[in-house]
Symmetry: D2
Subunit: 350 residues, 4 copies
Amino acid sequence: MLVVMKAQATPEEIQAVCEHIEQLGFRAHPLPGAQRTAIGITGNQGEVDRGNLEALSGVAEVIRVSKPYKLASRDVKEEDTVIRFAGTDAAIGGRDLAIIAGPCAIENRDQAFAIAEQVAAAGAQFFRGGAYKPRTSPYAFQGLGVEALRIMADIRFRYGLRIVTEAIDNESLDRVAEYADVIQIGARNMQNFSLLKRAGKLRKPVLLKRGLSATLDEFLMAAEYIMSEGNYEVILCERGVRTFADHARNTLDLSIVPAVQRLSHLPILVDPSHGTGRRDSVLPMARAAVATGADGVLVEVHHQPDKALSDGPQSIYPDQFVRMMDEIEQIAPVVGRHLPRGIHIEIAAG
Amino acid sequence: MLVVMKAQATPEEIQAVCEHIEQLGFRAHPLPGAQRTAIGITGNQGEVDRGNLEALSGVAEVIRVSKPYKLASRDVKEEDTVIRFAGTDAAIGGRDLAIIAGPCAIENRDQAFAIAEQVAAAGAQFFRGGAYKPRTSPYAFQGLGVEALRIMADIRFRYGLRIVTEAIDNESLDRVAEYADVIQIGARNMQNFSLLKRAGKLRKPVLLKRGLSATLDEFLMAAEYIMSEGNYEVILCERGVRTFADHARNTLDLSIVPAVQRLSHLPILVDPSHGTGRRDSVLPMARAAVATGADGVLVEVHHQPDKALSDGPQSIYPDQFVRMMDEIEQIAPVVGRHLPRGIHIEIAAG
Amino acid sequence: MLVVMKAQATPEEIQAVCEHIEQLGFRAHPLPGAQRTAIGITGNQGEVDRGNLEALSGVAEVIRVSKPYKLASRDVKEEDTVIRFAGTDAAIGGRDLAIIAGPCAIENRDQAFAIAEQVAAAGAQFFRGGAYKPRTSPYAFQGLGVEALRIMADIRFRYGLRIVTEAIDNESLDRVAEYADVIQIGARNMQNFSLLKRAGKLRKPVLLKRGLSATLDEFLMAAEYIMSEGNYEVILCERGVRTFADHARNTLDLSIVPAVQRLSHLPILVDPSHGTGRRDSVLPMARAAVATGADGVLVEVHHQPDKALSDGPQSIYPDQFVRMMDEIEQIAPVVGRHLPRGIHIEIAAG
Amino acid sequence: MLVVMKAQATPEEIQAVCEHIEQLGFRAHPLPGAQRTAIGITGNQGEVDRGNLEALSGVAEVIRVSKPYKLASRDVKEEDTVIRFAGTDAAIGGRDLAIIAGPCAIENRDQAFAIAEQVAAAGAQFFRGGAYKPRTSPYAFQGLGVEALRIMADIRFRYGLRIVTEAIDNESLDRVAEYADVIQIGARNMQNFSLLKRAGKLRKPVLLKRGLSATLDEFLMAAEYIMSEGNYEVILCERGVRTFADHARNTLDLSIVPAVQRLSHLPILVDPSHGTGRRDSVLPMARAAVATGADGVLVEVHHQPDKALSDGPQSIYPDQFVRMMDEIEQIAPVVGRHLPRGIHIEIAAG
């Protein structure tokens, strides 16, 4: 259910409606829009009575949301969600494309800084690096953990890059939330509902990767898990699905980009590195992602991919990243977008 | 690496080899066999030096294990793993087929007891029921939690059935471990490595369901995660994979049964309820599972499936379960198996 | 549309209704049942007027068939289709299981006879062997063609086995129809509509294999193509579909057996050789196929698989075939079936 | 095997080498390159003796081709294949993007001309329209056949557009070859080897669509079937594969574009209409196709899609086609391409 408030509804009226909903045992999600505020109602205790709500002051109408996902649906919020990063001009979901780049895993300070310097110089605004790695084998490198988080905090300080890194369980989630600007939840955890709910209690943007065999509905329902707990800053990310095709590690399903944009107001990025698993396919698919209208790309960059502790074969070289940025920049205007180069930090006046 | 001890090696010699391995920074996994003990070596710090190990007293030979999974591999342990339940004649993995039956979710005491009574009467030895439900929607029934665990503990007391129930995160894992005889880890958590590792620290059997798009290698690697922490009682379970086929909810991949049996010593069960999602396909596929040589089946049974809070359409009626047991009983001898009817509890002499 | 005739309708009345339908520009398909005859109406010129038909003598009622497939649907013909072979007791679709065995390709007379002798001795009633091979590579062995057909005709004469062999195009179809008892249409040709229509004009049973990515609806629609031309003797065959799973060449989708049996009256066989591509999985899956309730199995048998010109790794040895027959024989009664051993040829009195 | 001729080899020397190869029972395929001619050797009678060939006059070296496909491989021909259309400046595979547009099926003269006029005006060089339709149901509209071919011949005369249309069997192939400029072989016939071989005997370009579950190797092997018969003008076309994903009719696998370009010299187009099955996804995916580096796109355009006899929901409107052309034109230079607008017919001097 969705309560649409009148355009002139006061904050007090909105507050009163929310309290009324919560008293009925449901959860109220006020979602401010350009024209007016809508209030999403969630909960699993059945149906809210419609008549009573419509009688409340400031309420324009009460709408039933037919989709299984509510808060993630465009029915509930028509305008695109734009996620902003306080104190900077970086954003995900608006006119500016978001470019997130960095190594699969943080291996050591020198490696991380070497790559960060190059991606920053090429104009990226976001740096990604794995601190906690979900590896298929228990005997493979599992990441540097907090040490990696600290290195990335220093990278943010040094280059101004916003940090994106993955949390793989409750414990790492708390740590990641402390250090990162965007918390990534990986494909294998897309239906780790416990982790999603916990991420929903945080107030930091969550980058949610599509599961290897997730349908669009399941993907949006996973976002809904986060949002149902009150965290509305969810960024979706397509990273390839599993099919019979063997010419790439996964099959990058770019047609999900327009499909998401029809159904949801959430931003959608594309990860051509995991999506193909091959260095020589990353640039073509990154260009394609922008051409479909995606809100940005997430790519693995490594200055010495042959020595990388994980995912070397799919990491592009820094000079390929520079070329990718140039190509994306040219495609951006065709889809009404712009590629910002570098991040601008606002210096608060003393 | 695998250290094969001589047939006449003493417990002290085995102990000494284990300690030597641990001092080198690796983990030692003594695996007793019918003829002699093998000791698996795991760890991600590289290779153990072979010569030193071979020089230790009681060591027959040191073998390199080429598979990415070690402890789960038949190379390391040739004999089938049989999981026994203290104080009973119930077992999973041996000559006797294991039948695990019960409702998708425990809805209330009456429902649970009504079903338990019927599956016990039909000869099941294991009762399954969901206490914590991983649901696609945050607004769907999430299970009764501890209340359900307590109901199942009473069912064990009343009917002697061993209890199988799912843990969905660390918190529920601790609770489930307290009450259940077998801890289930669901398909969506098959690569929740944090949960797997934690389950590996317990000393209770773990029933691990195959992920919706997991390859056989990934499935065995997930088992390896549990085993690498010292819990060797892992039961694999095929429950259907995701494909384009739309005549069933999932595509039950029975050919994984002989494939698992070639590569691993772990028991493998089949869940035809989730595997098909259709009541009228459960019996045919349960018979087929036994005919392939699976170690048993896990089925959803409900006395009032139309009123079930989840998975009603795939739950069979108690009388269908009776028929399934009769059919399975007849097929069992063809594959060298036997269907036990009911569980025998050993009464300790006073 | 389906015209159901009264139980006491005369052949003349049935004939008159058929003629009426054909005069309207449609095609009439009289389908005799145990109680009464139904007449299927097909054609793509729109709808037949119902009232006029219902007024014809002998007509009980006129029913609209909602499925996209008509003649293949159980709505149109409730009883199972049983395909009989004149002059023998062999049948496909009835109580008796049909076992079709032989090499992937006929390589030469000696090879073919050696294998035929063994499968006949083990009790098979049908011999399969490729004369025309649809090979992925234009440079691979393409089959002996007519020479192979002649060898198989001699095998029929010598051992009484009914012959099943594949046609790959119109030209080979005419040849195969001349020599074989059952015309196979392979998975890659399941939607070769031109070939299907031409096979529909013949009056010989057609064994239609499921395409590698065919849904159940598409599979039944392919059968419908054959039936719409007047050939109602179609045998369906599951042979594995293509998925991400890599532990077998294909994923054998046994759950299609009960699904077909719900929707269609046509017999359904299973091919565990192509379905798995691995010798050591053939027996488990053949047993499973019978346990699901399939009408029989089609297996590749070779006395020297290591020297086979095609599909050696999936061909079982003759002694494995003997074992398979024994195991299937034991499972058959559980599903109300019987395994006939050998074929009985009726000798017409002089 | 591949015979590389010396740069200065004479036509007589090339001819002599070819004759030598044919006398050995193999087939010779002279493939002229920018620098020198290579001669592919195919046949399934085993290996050619290398020494004798190397001794022939004009031969530089003899190379073994390790790929299962030979003539389709970049190992055999390094330069991109460019297919030209005599008397025009139209080409597929070179710097100019090829745009093929038109309705799914030719329904009547007015419909076909109305659409042709609009796509010509927007700058397309190729017109597509179905004369023979491979339909899932035998009762669905099967195409106008020769009548449609004649309408398209008139469209070529009237608008100068080159005609692309599908052949579905040997009979239609001969007709299509008579009227069309490019013969399309559809996804369902990608492994109709008989049809491929027959198309290989023609000397007209063949547009080969990827099968619904074809791997890249199988796709190139299908092209090889055509080429092995002497027709080297094969155009590949990605049109979506079948997966579990349900937000689009198929999953358009754009990553096959760079993969094809690594392995083969053949041009590769993309069909976003069948690839998505949704009008609102066609433009995003057409842009993406060009951005990946594809040689062009094939799209369904209909002026009245709601009244279309087939594939209405995926046909774009003429004004969307205009927009698509504008967008593609802007993306083209980023990948070193150019979008020609309209076709130039050379008028032979009298």
